[in-house]
Symmetry: C2
Subunit: 346 residues, 2 copies
């Protein structure tokens, strides 16, 4: 076979466009690329390897003759159309939450549990962005010293809530400089009862609440982290907060290990982990920030400290571009790892 016939559902979205860039950057063996989107976006074009490709309207018939379909258009679209892609014989890598907690479907961060791809599953789920960033930092420490609990507070960029949330932040900043009131109609989430400005503000709500007062985003951090680490009872307590940052999610992580881990050992373990970059030198004031890590592939870890009062606990400051490693890059890495078992060649 001369390369892989790829389709992207949700090609015009932020993750969809990043997928196109990453397939190009990493020279994924693409034989053909079909770009699919809602009827509203169909008719436009996007560039891949210097060529303008048309965006077509998504239909259940669109998957005929494709080998690999990336879904990145929300859970309801995946739920409706992934079965057609699978029936057409394509491999599906789904970036939505539709199948993540399905016991039959592997939920994969290749550096952490990539072995689940060795048998070439036909449907693979890509985790929630905050979770991918978190488990990249947890996995090497857990492997070395065990993991008893995790407490995480997030600082999430507005692009995680979509392109319209980014436009909303920009418009609010402009309004503020011009002395006009800040108008909000998207954040904290589009279908909510109330909307609040994010410019110069914080919204301690990402997605909707359940009856316990937890958001869906907070539960994703619990359940997806457990599934990826293969640790179904791991206590994970999460508070997710939207911050006026454009791109890259940050996380203040507290973790208790089974056995004590020195700071130097944690730095070494993280530094040896593919996909992780340690940026941690208090003396030189070096630590990751969202502005400095946007557009980059690694998950960055800094401020690695021992809890002064609990010898088995460490704190970390973890930052990663949630559109790259948090979404599109991880999806392409899954595809790369599936190439051998699925029999794809360049």
């Amino acid at each position: 076979m001369a390369g892989v016939r790829v389709a992207i559902v949700g090609a015009t979205g932020a993750v969809g466009q990043e997928l196109i860039r990453i397939l190009e950057e990493r020279s994924f063996p693409v034989a053909s690329l079909k770009l699919l989107a809602s009827p509203r976006s169909a008719g436009s074009t996007l560039t891949f390897q210097g060529e303008a490709l048309p965006v077509e309207a998504l239909t259940a018939q669109a998957f005929q003759g494709t080998d690999l379909v990336f879904f990145s258009a929300g859970a309801s679209v995946s739920q409706e159309y992934a079965p057609a892609a699978l029936a057409a014989g394509a491999t599906v890598i789904d970036n939505s939450s539709a199948f993540r907690m399905d016991e039959e479907v592997p939920l994969v961060v290749p550096e952490v549990n990539g072995h689940l791809l060795d048998e070439g599953p036909q449907l693979v789920a890509n985790p929630n962005c905050s979770t991918t960033i978190l488990v990249m930092a947890l996995a090497p420490l857990r492997r070395a010293a065990g993991l008893r609990r995790v407490i995480v507070s997030t600082y999430q960029a507005v692009s995680g809530a979509g392109a319209r949330a980014v436009e909303e932040l920009k418009a609010q900043v402009r309004a503020w400089l011009e002395g006009r009131p800040l108008e909000a109609s998207i954040l904290p989430y589009r279908d909510g009862k109330r909307h609040r400005p994010i410019a110069f503000n914080l919204l301690p709500q990402c997605d909707r609440f359940d009856e316990l007062g937890y958001t869906k985003e907070e539960w994703k951090l619990v359940h997806e982290t457990r599934k990826i680490l293969g640790d179904p009872d791991l206590p994970v307590t999460a508070t997710t907060v939207r911050v006026p940052v454009l791109r890259s999610h940050s996380e203040s992580v507290y973790l208790e290990t089974e056995r004590p881990l020195a700071v130097e050992e944690a730095r070494r373990l993280l530094g040896e982990t593919p996909g992780v970059q340690v940026l941690d030198d208090p003396e030189e004031q070096l630590y990751p920030t969202p502005l400095e890590t946007s557009g980059q592939d690694p998950v960055f870890v800094g401020r690695i400290r021992k809890d002064p009062f609990e010898e088995r606990a460490l704190t970390l400051w973890v930052v990663g571009d949630q559109i790259r490693k948090g979404a599109a890059l991880n999806a392409v890495q899954i595809a790369e790892r599936l190439a051998a078992p699925r029999g794809w060649r360049g």
Copy 2:
């Protein structure tokens, strides 16, 4: 005595100006008000009760004939000049870190440990802003159910780093809208080796680092919380982060109590606490945000949740105006509570 002869050291700073406003708002029995500042600021005027008052240069002689001096010009100024104020017979309420950990000096949040003022100490320390906001939420829960540990991640406004940090954020936002590079020369802290933009960014560093990789701000949260709560061994683990917010600090707080506390009970306890306002209704998407609480007196608590995996643990989202309750308001409340023991009358 017909009222209190008050002086403010650092009158032109953000906290100094807020002190003037709060003395006015709360009708503190001011007989006279002397405004003191660095020679650079001397010569300007500030308004109190409709009257323009001159700002005088701070000298050791300036405290003659004063009853009460608020210091709010940094630790080195307090260290140098507080002895002169005390020697002149004045009561000193110090907003700097100079005397906070001095065993002889009470460190007071009136709603929490105001009884320390009953004997009319001549020197009282006002806590660090993040600490005041934190202990306001912890104290009523600790009183009811004991407290075993606290893990806190902060989201701190730029005004906590001074007026020049606020100007820096504004200039960066303007530059960003005009497509110019973001220049930084103040944050994370003025004397640091490196400065980074705060607009659309996060800086996981408030103040300088020690050899353990903790910042001074993080240690203040440990030591001052212990002292105010009268719990010298309480484990407090803090991560402090500067965020692009103008005013009001927010804190994601995880706490373990000695006995389990139901969410409803925690809401009730906090709701009954003077100076605390519960804003917590997930159904209605009600929780505090910095924009909505700026300029207000209470410390706001929302997102009160049980840790799903630890029945003795709760999480809180605490927000307070760090210039009001976090600094100036608390200082004036200390002064009010000292009026009887110090023999001040209106």
